[in-house]
């Protein structure tokens, strides 16, 4: 069902592109591959695939054009501002891409003899140490593949430590209501029970509520600091003291580490265990949804329980420790998302001791600047200093019948990717803006101008424009309800 109009320019460079399955021609058979030619071994004949998979097979030029055209339908950091709160969408240095692709990193087999991968092990050992130094912890595992995976790994270590102390009955994990959804989900995956802690009216953790819930069954408190409203939990030392006094551990969600890097260290605050989203703080590309990396840094008390394999330096070089008596074992099929970790190492190396603190400084400066520019136009639920992200709501625009979703969609028409919407859940109509350190004042001013324009349009009653937005992209608001009600996840031809 290929039609000429699927290829023609609709408006300027806006184009359509069919599904790969709709490219109507016979399958290409032009792939040349090296290797041993020969028939299928006789013993396999009985298992010979009976029904073709029906994978399209386009020629090389067609494949390139198909995916390049699709790529042009994406907003990305390289094409524009991406102020998603709690996501830390910063510039991804190109040199890091080149390094990760060096054959000595990219084409190395995980079961190669250790003496043939010493350069790689050294780089990983080095970044492991840097991550520990930056966060203030003596030990780090690189294995977890993502933030959520790190949370689960950390809780598994906490669980193992409690069991080793004969306190395996401790089963409750306290999670503030402002936390990422992964926190309670990770606790469940460990077989632990989540107790939700209400936040104070200022968005901070409620010390009284914490004290009330701490008891002999507390395994851990999971805390994001700065919290998801973008504010530093100033009582952090007291919070950690209380949890420790009750016999629990403090798990730090490192999602917001960008606000602290080079300025303060979670390990110094009394936190016992922290995952580090290297795809946020250390700029490994988000890739349209991964791969990321979630190394976990731990205090001495949790060190015996670190996952295996674990890299250790010894007299003769670097060595993978495969077994360790109290280890929680493997949490992934490999030692981690190695290519991602190499990119993170390169980002840290570029800043080094000299400049690392500038990451947090400019990130915090930028967020406060945007807050200063927008606070006269949007409701700020928790006034005061913010850290690397600022939180607004749609409260004032609601009066004119406009909600956060409309504002977000209107931003698309104005050329920006919207901020994070409807998170955190502790305020109604949340808009969480995180500019990161790699955005210019010019870009932030342009975004703020757009936000001010939208607020003005609300006041002036030009709300239809907002309800209909976005008008300009190649697709307008999509029917998510229909998608979920009758899910079509694979192509069976036009229905």
């Amino acid at each position: 069902m290929t039609h000429a109009n699927q290829y023609s320019a609709k408006a300027g460079l806006m184009h359509e592109e069919p599904l790969v399955f709709e490219h109507a021609h016979e399958k290409a058979t032009s792939i040349n591959l090296p290797g041993v030619t020969g028939d299928m071994p006789a013993s396999l004949a009985a298992f010979s695939r009976k029904k073709a998979a029906n994978i399209p097979g386009l020629s090389e030029p067609e494949t390139v054009r198909h995916f390049v055209r699709l790529s042009q339908w994406n907003h990305s950091i390289e094409t524009g501002f991406y102020p998603l709160g709690s996501c830390t969408m910063k510039y991804n240095p190109r040199v890091n891409e080149n390094i990760a692709r060096l054959p000595g990193f990219a084409h190395v087999h995980p079961y190669q003899p250790e003496d043939s991968v010493q350069g790689l092990l050294e780089s990983l050992y080095e970044v492991q140490g840097w991550l520990g130094e930056i966060t203030g912890f003596p030990h780090v595992t690189l294995q977890p593949a993502a933030g959520a995976h790190g949370e689960w790994t950390g809780l598994m270590m906490i669980r193992a430590a409690l069991q080793a102390k004969g306190e395996g009955h401790r089963n409750k994990v306290l999670v503030p209501d402002s936390a990422h959804g992964t926190n309670p989900a990770s606790a469940s995956l460990c077989g632990m029970e989540t107790i939700e802690l209400p936040s104070l009216p200022n968005g901070q953790l409620d010390l009284e509520a914490l004290k009330q819930h701490l008891d002999g069954n507390t395994a851990a408190l999971m805390l994001t600091n700065p919290n998801t409203a973008g504010a530093f939990e100033s009582n952090i030392v007291e919070i950690c003291r209380l949890v420790h006094e009750a016999g629990g551990f403090v798990y730090g969600d490192g999602a917001n580490l960008n606000a602290l890097v080079g300025k303060a260290r979670p390990g110094d605050m009394g936190i016992d265990c922290l995952h580090i989203n290297v795809h946020k703080t250390f700029s490994t590309p988000h890739g349209g949804g991964g791969p990321g990396g979630g190394p976990v840094a731990v205090c001495e008390a949790l060190a015996p329980f670190l996952p295996t394999p674990h890299i250790r330096a010894c007299k003769h070089g670097y060595h993978l420790v495969q077994e360790h008596p109290q280890s929680i074992g493997s949490v992934l099929g490999s030692i981690g998302q190695v290519g991602v970790l190499i990119r993170a190492a390169a980002y840290i190396a570029a800043f080094g001791r000299d400049h690392l603190h500038k990451i947090a400084e400019d990130a915090v400066l930028n967020a406060n600047y945007m807050l200063a520019r927008l606070k006269a136009h949007y409701h700020v639920p928790f006034p005061g200093l913010c850290k690397h992200e600022c939180l607004l709501t749609d409260e004032w625009q609601n009066r004119d019948g406009v909600k956060t979703l409309d504002i977000a969609k209107r931003l698309i028409d104005l050329g920006f990717h919207p901020m994070t919407v409807y998170f955190p859940l502790i305020v109604h109509g949340a808009m969480l803006i995180e500019p990161t350190e790699t955005e210019s004042k010019e870009m932030m001013d342009a975004f703020c101008d757009a936000m001010v324009e939208i607020a003005e349009q609300c006041k002036n009653g030009e709300t239809e424009l907002l309800h209909d937005a976005p008008l300009l992209p190649m697709r307008r608001r999509l029917d998510e309800t229909a998608a979920a009600r009758k899910p079509t996840l694979v192509w069976h031809g036009e229905v």
């Binding site: 995916f67 995980p110 350069g119 959804g181 949804g289 791969p291 493997s330 400066l365 790699t438 079509t488």
Partner: protein, 450 residues
């Protein structure tokens, strides 16, 4: 600092607008005793771009890799050919530097690619639906076990003896603090013991997990297992390590697998010392709402134009929190783009060529083995176990191969210590990258090490 756009005057202007006088004002909410002074961290000094390239190139060059050796290593990671186009597409900033497609109107590129990926993965595995990826094969197997428990509301999980020991370990870990038991069947030769597996199923069994082709590379018929699973109303979960096999042999869907999970690394993703790889997760349509992970679905916009969105999010952690099907959120998105590009380039014909070459190379190697080395019997795809007369002979061979730049196989006990005569055996794999010359070199060395 080259990644930071501000000039000092920008910073001053912004501070003034905020109402602050200096940068430290912005960090006053952090208790003073917790603040560290600039340059106090024990890190190396900042490196220029040129210095970074030099440092990491030197580290990389100290590693041997598949492009300058003869690589017969497998065990879940395979040195398949990666067309240049794949890396070009995933290097494009629009794919590389986009976030999870939460705003579908400006993320249709990623979303349509995910939809195409899901469709092609479902077709290749013969399954009805696929999600948009998991971390890797091992965690996919673990999530499949958890899903089977949700679907059946039963608690016992059986891991057959031919499942990759690493997949077993990770799965056992994922299940360790939850109700029920995870039973790992004892080793029994270099092939899946189906009779043992079927005998282990009981009324409390949520699922049986088998690997196909199994960890030892053996291909076998799953029809009897399907019948046994139906009898006991448990799910049949099929794991796989090298998805390229299914261009040649009957895929899991052919045997009626309820869930099929495994590695998609063979689909244009470099070995990378273990990651980032790609976990594939497929199942029957009727179990869709118990599936973990992100999924992309077809829908229409307000103008009736076709488009795609992330869907079924009510299963997920950001909505369901502690009641979510998993804690997993976005994971290997770019690897899905790589796989979709690879599959599009290859098509049925290319995939079949890859699989045929991979299988033919193994057969050729087996045919040439000297008599003091025995290969496991039965049908194999591209991996098998070869056994020497004793450990000494094997180790002598391994070290000579190493010296000759041949990664000749994985010493079996390093992954699978309980396997029969593991210390005298090697797990050995072939792909289309193995040429006749590589096999001759390996065989010559084998002949020299008796």
């Amino acid at each position: 600092m080259r990644f930071l756009p501000h000039t000092e005057s920008d910073r001053q202007a912004m501070l003034t607008r905020i109402g602050a006088t200096q940068m430290s004002d912005l960090f006053e909410d952090i208790p003073e005793q917790l603040r560290i002074s600039p340059q106090s961290l024990d890190l190396p000094g900042a490196l220029s771009e040129a210095a970074i390239v030099r440092k990491f190139t030197q580290a990389a060059e100290r590693n041997r890799h598949a492009l300058n050796t003869r690589c017969f290593l497998g065990g879940g990671t395979y040195h398949h050919f990666i067309p240049s186009v794949v890396d070009y597409i995933i290097s494009r900033g629009e794919f590389l530097t986009a976030y999870t497609p939460y705003q579908p109107e400006i993320s249709q590129g990623t979303l349509q690619t995910l939809f195409e990926f899901q469709t092609m993965v479902a077709r290749l595995t013969g399954m009805e639906v696929s999600n948009a990826s998991m971390y890797d094969a091992a965690t996919s197997v673990a999530e499949a076990a958890l899903m089977a428990k949700r679907v059946t509301r039963k608690n016992r999980v059986i891991l057959a003896n031919g499942v990759h020991p690493k997949y077993c370990e990770v799965t056992t870990n994922y299940l360790s603090h939850l109700e029920g038991s995870c039973v790992r069947l004892p080793q029994s030769g270099y092939a899946t013991d189906l009779a043992q597996t079927i005998a282990a199923i009981d009324e409390n069994t949520a699922c049986v997990i088998v690997q196909y082709p199994d960890f030892y590379g053996t291909v076998y018929d799953l029809a009897q297992l399907r019948i046994a699973c139906d009898t006991h109303k448990c799910l049949m979960v099929v794991a796989f390590a090298d998805v390229s096999a299914f261009a040649l042999i009957d895929p899991p869907g052919h045997y009626g697998a309820d869930i099929a999970v495994g590695s998609g690394q063979a689909l244009g993703i470099p070995m990378g010392f273990g990651g980032p790889h790609l976990g594939l997760f497929t199942c029957k349509q009727k179990y869709l709402r118990q599936m973990p992970g992100r999924v992309c679905g077809l829908t229409h916009d307000v103008n009736g134009q076709r488009g795609f969105v992330l869907t079924l999010s009510t299963r997920e952690q950001h909505i369901r929190r502690e009641k979510a099907t998993s804690n997993i959120c976005s994971n290997q998105g770019l690897m899905c783009t790589a796989a979709a590009t690879y599959l599009t380039l290859m098509g049925d014909a290319g995939l079949e060529t890859v699989a045929k070459h991979s299988a033919a190379a193994l057969q050729s190697l087996i045919d040439q083995l000297p008599s003091h080395v025995t290969a496991a019997s039965g049908p194999h795809y591209n991996e098998t176990v070869i056994t020497f007369s004793d450990q000494h002979t094997r180790d002598q061979f391994l070290s000579r191969a190493h010296a000759a730049n041949i990664f000749a196989g994985i010493a079996l006990e390093t992954i699978d210590s309980s396997a029969e005569r593991a210390e005298a055996s090697l797990l050995i794999a072939t792909t289309e990258m193995i040429e006749p010359d590589d096999i001759s070199a390996l065989v010559q060395l084998l002949e020299a090490c008796q």
